[in-house]
């Protein structure tokens, strides 16, 4: 379609998805207004560093911005921070804002993301210095509470990436840290046992206590701090509690407006919802992935950025489909984990150990098809894994695990 100056594109949510969408929409030739709303009052920032470099940085105002402030001006993108959206009216193509005003739209983009899931633990509402880790405010609160605490005893509830990254960062700052995981191993939802074992060892070697099969049932006041109690009777004193047990997708606005919800906001391959003027992008969407031939909801920067780019192109009339191979990363202590693909449905795994310490890769297969690669301090496996997943070339698994075979693109192809 051709765009005109009188058109208005409204974006709800100014984080990775919404902001990248807005700049890409301008780049693709949208001539009309672009207005971004977010309830968060912070200037749009990168989220991944919050649990990593930001926590350990010296300067607490050292937020890493998604785009410099002047770019919003030069690209004529209007940013309205601290403004919530109450509901939208699809018939009239307008949204009602928390400040009572109404904004009409030609195209509406839902980039509402997700919020931390707070588990129904007795006493969680009244616990002292208990925070999730998702927003800049959360990270600032954690920094403050940590600084103000004398004994610096930290309990992290949940052994997923957020919990483990936060644990590693606080440990680096000198905390004593216990991670309580409900499942039998950390990272159980997202990786193979070999990865869980590695990260358990890594944390233990660095002095973080990792305890599994620990179901937290209550948090009780204990002098000036908290006592975290598990169902097996074990108890942990905590000056600071970080909760990282997953997210809840922000689908309420979409649902009330009658959009199709299925584990997230259902969108087609161009990120469009069942309303032709409404698109949804990022963590809040449930979308089809052609490569894996299944529908997915992904919590990642890659998905947020790439789906935003797809929606921008689609709105400006380009024939485009969203068919990215997902990728992720995590930094804990001196380890860089890079992941590509989706391991869901794997039935065998090949591990390649490099000679250097703490450097290896796990290759997830379904029969002979490569689904995903997790690379620990070995970016080559991540890059080559990406190529193999895309190309679908048949691989010889015995060669992958044989480190006497040099790590080159042609080394691992099946004869």
């Amino acid at each position: 379609m051709t765009t005109t100056k009188s058109q208005v594109c409204v974006v709800i949510g100014a984080s990775h998805a919404g902001v990248n969408f807005a700049f890409n929409l301008r780049r693709e030739g949208w001539e009309g207004e672009i207005i971004l709303y977010d309830i968060d009052t912070e200037f749009p920032y990168h989220r991944p560093p919050l649990s990593k470099a930001y926590l350990t940085s010296k300067d607490e105002t050292d937020q890493s911005l998604l785009f410099p402030k002047e770019n919003y001006t030069t690209d004529n993108i209007t940013l309205k921070l601290g403004v919530g959206v109450e509901r939208f009216n699809r018939e009239e193509q307008s949204i009602l804002l928390s400040n009572g005003s109404i904004q009409s739209y030609d195209k509406l983009i839902i980039a509402t993301g997700a919020r931390p899931f707070m588990p129904p633990i007795k006493g969680i509402e009244t616990a002292k210095n208990l925070f999730p880790m998702r927003t800049a405010e959360d990270a600032i609160n954690i920094r403050k509470a940590f600084k103000g605490s004398k004994e610096k005893r930290v309990v992290v509830i949940g052994g997923g990436y957020i919990g483990l990254e936060t644990a590693a960062s606080l440990k680096k700052l000198g905390a004593s840290v216990v991670v309580l995981e409900r499942e039998a191993r950390i990272l159980a939802r997202v990786t193979a046992p070999v990865m869980s074992q590695f990260f358990t060892q890594l944390h233990q070697n660095n002095g973080v206590e990792i305890l599994t099969t620990k179901n937290v049932v209550s948090i009780e006041p204990n002098g000036g701090c908290n006592m975290v109690v598990c169902d097996d009777g074990s108890q942990f004193e905590a000056d600071l509690i970080v909760v990282g047990v997953g997210i809840q997708v922000n689908t309420e606005l979409a649902q009330e407006a009658g959009l199709v919800i299925e584990n997230g906001i259902k969108v087609d391959e161009t990120a469009r919802t069942n309303d032709e003027n409404i698109y949804a992008i990022g963590d809040c969407t449930y979308h089809y992935n052609p490569h894996y031939n299944c529908c997915l909801r992904l919590e990642s920067v890659q998905n947020a950025v790439d789906q935003g780019k797809t929606a921008a192109k689609a709105i400006c009339g380009e024939a485009v489909i969203y068919d990215a191979i997902p990728w992720f990363w995590s930094d804990q202590f001196d380890v860089k984990l890079q992941m590509v693909g989706l391991s869901i449905g794997y039935n065998n795994i090949v591990v390649r150990d490099e000679e250097a310490e703490n450097s290896f890769s796990a290759w997830y297969f379904k029969d002979d098809e490569l689904l995903a690669v997790d690379a620990v301090n070995f970016a080559k496996a991540y890059v080559l894994g990406t190529k193999f997943i895309k190309s679908g070339q048949k691989l010889d698994k015995s060669k992958i695990s044989d480190i006497s075979i040099p790590f080159k693109p042609n080394s691992f192809l099946a004869e």
Partner: protein, 102 residues
């Protein structure tokens, strides 16, 4: 302060000035086509790949292990490849000429 020139895939040369941050950030700020910096500058996405003018290779220096591992199998790699998120803007880079890889 450093003046850095980016040559994009359409052959256009753009010279911009920077004083701090990374070359990737400087490029994003100035909307240099082909430099996205999707991962925020942590050497994870390779969407900020540039080729250094061979005569100026001494100015930027070699990539470290993580960066060279990211680059080794990239389709557009050359012996003068760098990820611009790993280049810090400083006076030392004044006059640098970079060709955007993507």
């Amino acid at each position: 302060m450093a003046k850095i020139t980016f040559i994009t895939s359409d052959g256009k040369a753009t010279t911009v000035e920077g004083t701090s941050g990374t070359v990737m950030e400087l490029a994003v700020q100035n909307k240099i086509k082909g430099i996205d910096g999707d991962c925020g500058g942590v050497c994870s996405c390779a969407t900020c790949h540039v080729h250094v003018n061979p005569e100026q290779w001494g100015i930027t220096g070699e990539p470290d292990e993580l960066e060279s591992d990211m680059l080794e199998f990239d389709d557009n790699v050359s012996e003068y490849s760098r990820l611009s998120c790993q280049l810090k803007v400083s006076d030392a880079l004044d006059g640098l000429e970079l060709t955007v890889a993507n």
